[in-house]
Symmetry: C2
Subunit: 229 residues, 2 copies
């Protein structure tokens, strides 16, 4: 008990909702708690902020320690400071959400998490603490933001087909999009680079591959362009 303060201080944690996408749909990465409170319950990864690391760094570190994930897209969601959200003591948490390319990443459990597993968004267990609410907020943010910011590409491989891109939006927004209108719109934006490659190992005509052109996106944005699906 080496640290003393004149006034009581809330503990400060970061928690991170990690979204991933595969053929089955949108997934969330959860860890099984190895310690009390809520031992054995599923939770979103997170942990205490150290006094010598920034909030973003804390979120990245916890993500790596508990799930092995590195270099993911990460964005602050909100900060929750309800009085009784942790039974032990007053804990304020800065919530983040992350988007990862499921195809690229292996996930492992570590430290105080017993196991890390991907759950389908439509088949989630009840979570520890107020993590259900945080997850719900994160999903709402994702649904809203994917429409006017090109963050959806963070869920896809670097090279993708227009079909994959459209499916990603259909899954996240939970509604069908018209194929021709979608292609017209997204290609018309001029932020996709058409590659001299097609997808491999398909039992039908192979689709062309594209890449998101971030530099061009930024250039257009400076000129008043607004991404919108």
């Amino acid at each position: 008990m080496a640290y003393k303060y004149e006034f009581a201080r809330p503990a400060l944690t970061v928690d991170c909702v990690v979204f991933g996408l595969d053929d089955e749909g949108l997934k969330v990465l959860l860890i099984e708690r190895a310690l009390e409170p809520f031992r054995g319950r599923w939770a979103i990864p997170g942990g205490f902020v150290r006094v010598d690391e920034s909030l973003d760094d804390a979120a990245l570190r916890e993500l790596q320690e508990e799930t092995g994930l590195k270099k993911v897209f990460l964005e602050q969601l909100c900060t929750v400071g309800t009085l009784d959200r942790d039974p032990r003591e007053r804990v304020v948490t800065v919530a983040y959400y992350a988007l990862v390319r499921l195809s690229n990443h292996r996930v492992q459990a570590a430290t105080d998490a017993r196991e890390a597993l991907w759950f389908a968004m439509d088949d989630l267990p009840t979570l520890a603490f107020d993590h259900d609410q945080i997850l719900e907020s994160a999903y709402e943010r994702l649904q809203a933001k994917v429409r006017y910011q090109p963050i959806g590409f963070e869920l896809l491989p670097n090279k993708f087909t227009l079909r994959q891109l459209q499916s990603m939006y259909e899954i996240i927004l939970d509604r069908e999009l018209d194929k021709r209108n979608f292609r017209k719109k997204i290609l018309g934006m001029g932020v996709l680079t058409e590659l001299d490659e097609v997808e491999a190992d398909v039992a039908h005509r192979a689709a062309r591959l594209y890449r998101f052109n971030k530099a061009e996106y930024r250039r257009l944005t400076k000129q008043g362009f607004n991404f919108e699906i």
Copy 2:
């Protein structure tokens, strides 16, 4: 020094960017710091979060203590945890922004603030800490959000003319709007109640007064309606 913890903890504060509107334009409420660090510099109101109050409560309390403001519209902006943002020690702050009806509120200084003053957005002093950045973020949020959420009404009197409403949007968005198109659009939404009153004491034809109909807005929103300017 009564409170001891096993690990060092960052201090936790709330800071609040308060926007107000009058004939001259958009204003921000700043306080002059009476204590070190940054003694004598202007800052946005804020202070330490107590261990037994929620974040929102802390923001409301600080606002009242430092400026006398009560019952304002308040929304969380973001949380900043840069390592050296406070020269004394590690301080993480949860930033808020508030919207107040300038016509209704008297402002007073109190506690550790020497003075509270409204500054025009285009004539701001250099602020203490990283408050310039927080203020900038708050302004960007306001500009973005005012377009798709009816928060702009929080800056106007309860009864307002369409001209006042349009001016509010023109000031915040920093561009002119077409009078006829604006009136068509806003009246077409059906969220304004036309009153049997007109403005008083004007040296020309008096304009009709309207009120924002929050209940109707909520009803329409449930049916899929989207507010948008």
